[in-house]
Subunit: 655 residues, 2 copies
């Protein structure tokens, strides 16, 4: 280094590594508005207190799955409508198959939880066992599923509400967005908070439906299989079609939407308190047990009471659950409580997405397929950026579809079943590799699951292709492409900035400093003083854009000696050199940049620092009255200066 002065003047002899303490405000801090809305800031060490057990786990991760009971059987029954009363005889075996697949999926995900306790679900399983490509497909499918689940869940809940209270119909979109804001805020306050907030509606839903199913079952038993409904259901239409395999397969595929949401627990394992794996497994067991009970009970009672679907969107439509409740207990207060809890659970089923989507994005961000920010915890330790992005994207969908998202349902099922299938297939590969006792049995369970969900996926894609399923076929590859491009960019940047060698100071030298000066004022004097503090080689560049009379030297040149050179000499410092350059075409930037480029090229070993004094104005519109040359110059030098040219703005504050 040309200047060896630095070591001389510093008299402090200090340790080279210092750890300084955090400033802790004395006493309890005052609550800010942000504290009230988002909850008080949580320290990283408080993470364990935010974790949840099975009781809160069901509302956090189970709402998506449980709410399926409200539309899965109905979806199957709707497809059986053309068969008339005959269709009812298929609902029990179909539900049996769905429950069987559900159990296979259950055992399969139990195994996944134990094998991959760090969460990430399908993405992680696929990455470990099938490779990054399959993992990205699973990630894209899951992300699509989560986003659509928010839009579809909220609009299904609001749809049920407005069909019960038609006066609210004009406010559909507003209600949807209000629920979205509620979910977003609660989830920004933390996972635990959302579990506690949604505890009541969840268990009310489970208790009231279970009550109706058990009471209805007892009445069926008491009546010897032919109960008299308290309120009769609509008569089923006469048969218009004969049964066909394709019809039954499609009814099965529709009924399978009852399984969406089952993967949620395996994706969110790190949310659970210790012992993590048993807690997560217990939660999954509770969810599946409730779901199986509800699905089985609904199928059996629908059969016993002769309840089928009513044509959706037509006059006289009544949901299967509503018919069932009417038949078993009549339209009393209990009926309204039950239906209210159904509406709430549908609307809140989006909560599962809010728990899992940010975690999925975090895993993708850690693997550098998404921006870093997704892996940053916010003030309440949740991955706030993912929560906000989920809210914005699904809010956009709600607005675009005016709050009625029926047409998105096929897309939603595709995302879920694609992720299921990849995950199960990954587990098959996992067990094949793992080997040993039990692995064989586990392998077969997962293979069965993969086959079942794979078939369902194909059926859903084929039967719903024209209805919008093609969008998923386009969106998933696009998302995978975007992930890959992001990853490529990060890898490229990572390689570019990677540094394995230690600091290289062999050619370190004081920089050449350039200060553009146009007149003598406090900004100029501040800039020059700072320049002199940085380096002994300071050049003040004066661009003459206006011709002075008869070629007389400009004001600045006349006073330079007195104003700058003398004080510098008096302080024992090298005086800055004034460089005067005429600009025939009245340009300011072109000659300045030319000079800086020339200086840079003449001194290939040294950095060039350009100091631009910067007037800090008090009001933004004051900036309109100043020329903002600093900003323009900085932009131009970023484009043309290259890595050795550094622009420094010295602030000058107006008092």
């Amino acid at each position: 280094m040309r200047s060896s002065a630095h070591a001389v003047i510093s008299r402090e002899s200090s340790p080279k590594i210092v750890t300084i303490a955090e400033k802790v405000p004395p006493g309890p801090s005052k609550s800010t508005l942000a504290d009230v809305i988002f909850g008080r800031r949580l320290a990283t060490a408080e993470e364990d207190e935010q974790k949840i057990g099975p009781v809160a786990g069901v509302p956090v991760l189970g709402l998506d799955a449980l709410s399926s009971a409200a539309y899965g059987p109905e979806a199957a029954l709707t497809l059986l409508l053309p068969l008339g009363a005959l269709g009812l005889s298929y609902i029990v075996p179909l539900s049996g198959i769905i429950v069987a697949v559900l159990l296979v999926v259950y055992f399969s995900y139990r195994q996944t939880i134990a094998a991959y306790p760090n969460g990430g679900g399908s993405y992680t399983v696929a990455k470990e066992n099938l490779g990054q490509g399959a993992a990205l497909v699973a990630g894209a499918a899951l992300a699509l599923d989560y986003v659509l689940n928010v839009a579809v869940g909220i609009s299904a809940g609001v749809g049920a509400l407005v069909s019960a209270v038609p006066a609210l119909l004009p406010h559909t979109l507003l209600l949807c967005l209000a629920i979205l804001v509620l979910l977003t805020l609660v989830n920004l306050r933390g996972t635990r908070e959302s579990g506690l907030t949604f505890l009541l509606p969840t268990y009310l839903f489970v208790a009231s439906l279970a009550g109706i199913l058990v009471y209805g079952g007892l009445r069926v038993f008491a009546a010897g299989g032919h109960p008299v409904p308290v309120e009769a259901s609509p008569v089923l239409p006469v048969s218009t079609e004969t049964v066909s395999l394709w019809l039954v397969v499609r009814a099965f595929a529709s009924g399978c939407t009852a399984m969406t949401g089952v993967e949620a627990v395996s994706n969110g394992v790190p949310l659970f308190r210790r012992p993590t794996i048993p807690n997560a497994q217990r939660t999954l067991t509770v969810i599946i047990a409730i779901l199986v009970g509800l699905l089985g009970g609904i199928a059996l009672l629908a059969r016993a009471y002769g309840i089928g679907a009513t044509p959706p969107g037509e006059h006289g439509y009544q949901s299967v659950l509503s018919q069932l409740a009417c038949a078993v207990i009549g339209r009393g207060p209990l009926y309204y409580i039950t239906m209210g809890s159904v509406v709430a659970v549908l609307a809140l089923s989006a909560n599962t997405s809010f728990a899992d989507f940010p975690r999925l994005c975090r895993v993708l961000a850690l693997d550098r397929f998404l921006p870093d920010t997704f892996a940053t915890r916010g003030r309440r330790l949740v991955f706030s950026y993912g929560v906000v992005v989920l809210a914005v994207v699904s809010g956009f969908l709600l607005v675009a579809f005016g709050g009625v998202t029926d047409r998105l349902i096929p897309l939603f099922a595709i995302g879920a079943f694609l992720a299921f299938t990849i995950s199960q297939a990954g587990m098959v590969a996992h067990w094949r590799r793992a080997g040993g006792t039990g692995a064989r049995r586990s392998l077969w369970i997962n293979a069965l699951g993969a086959t079942a969900t794979g078939i369902t996926l194909v059926v859903v894609i084929v039967s719903k292709f024209a209805d919008g399923a093609w969008i998923a076929v386009v969106v998933v590859p696009l998302a995978v492409f975007a992930f890959a491009r992001i990853h490529r960019h990060y890898r490229y940047v990572g390689n570019e900035v990677k540094e394995s060698r230690p600091l290289d100071l062999s050619r370190a030298a004081s920089p050449l400093v350039v200060v553009p000066v146009q007149a003598w004022n406090k900004l100029t004097s501040r800039g020059l003083r700072f320049a002199i503090e940085l380096s002994p080689d300071v050049r003040a560049l004066h661009i003459v854009t206006q011709e002075t009379e008869d070629g007389a030297p400009c004001e600045l040149a006349r006073t330079w000696e007195t104003l700058v050179v003398d004080p510098a000499r008096a302080a024992g410092l090298k005086a800055p050199r004034l460089v005067v350059r005429k600009s025939t075409f009245r340009q300011f930037f072109a000659p300045l940049i030319e000079y800086i480029e020339q200086l840079r090229d003449e001194h290939p070993d040294r950095d060039v620092v350009v100091i631009v004094p910067d007037l800090v104005v008090r009001r933004w519109y004051h900036a309109l009255l100043h020329n903002n040359r600093g900003i323009i110059l900085k932009g131009l030098l970023r484009l043309r200066g290259g890595p050795r040219v550094v622009v420094v703005n010295t602030p000058f504050y107006l008092t």
Copy 2:
């Protein structure tokens, strides 16, 4: 200064003031697209070649005044309509009075040109003689007049065109904007260019109208005062009102719009080549002579041929000039040439504003009532900023009024007559102060002018108040208020940055440099190297947002010795200190700023430099993938750092 090293290491002994030559490209430079559109760049020294004489001066500064002949007499005749054929007997005496006032104004402005050869017209005259307040009122009035003149002139021309060719009616706005763009481009190419471009239509207009008037006059003479029209004019309506003083006064006020534009030459004196004053006076004389001839001829022939106005906006409307041309020469080719030149001159009358508005803004900017930029010459030596602002504001008016700006005409006359009156009053004060021979006569001329234009102003305001004149009464004071606020801001900033003392280096010291470091990479290494080049006191600040396992020291702390301390010692330099600070709440900026503030407060004499390595990405959307901490940090430190904290972004270019 603590470091006295700088003077030691520099071995160059160079003059303290250097003038460097401009890089002149060898041979003629290639034409760029900008050269083709705006013309080649002009050097400041080429200014004289851009100046104009009387021949080009008439199209540049006279179009506004000359085009008045096309609507002034018509405006007066329209008001006389209720008198029927009787009204015609008033047009000759009224035109006589108008011509008399015009001559008073002419002599008055001749004197102004001689007294104020630097231009600025009413503003300068008022400033010198009546004080800054009156000058700002005159400036605001003129600015309003110029802006409205562009909108009104273009839309009048296009209006005449579409009434001749009704197929163009739907394209009114588009035609207006096309002419505006043409005028803007030609004027950005320079004043001389606009004079040459608009020479032909101007002199065609003068020649054809003069021809008609002279030929018509001869025929009147030959017919003994009762000529037979080639094509008969519409019969005048029967009288519906009796003559009243108020009617005559209003007709006079409307006819006075024929005088707008007369001040243009006195505002644009510096545009003329030497001898400047005679050239400007000669131009004014030519313009006034033509205008007087046209006004007088139109009045006399209208009387002789019995031509009155037709009700505007009604079926069968025909302009007075068109009737006159028909009566004298019939609807032959010459008629169409004449009317074409009338249309062109109306549309191009806006050119006067383009010559004068930028000069007015320049004078206001030099007095610091408008931003500096208005005083900067563009590539063709015109004050381009003023040209562009004029085009944008009048374009906005054209769009807002859909290209039909009749309702703006009263406002436009108010601006002009307010400026006239203030200017004349200023000249009265000028002559009173000057004294001496001739001053008395000059004083009376200007006093007469001030009285005449003042009365006209009052008549226009009163008679047109409800029709929109009130807007001018609101806009002018608002503009004056804005000028005053801008001035106050500049004066305040000027006082704040004013520096009379020489450079103060008594407390100059190497700055304290802070480099936020999060990992070891090329960005970090670049930032540290630059920091070490700037100062011996470098602190690398590491904010730990993620807790490492069991409180183990972070990667950076473990390798600091090897990567940084050893190389620095080997180079004989003081090693940067690594400061590690835990962030319990995972914040990055808060602890960083806290540390910088603390450092600043502990060292009240020293500057604090914060170095933020900055990744320069190739595509703007890549910025979405990076955290852009540099920008956020810079903003925060601008708000909280104060004048001694300087942020430096060291660029790192991706190759």
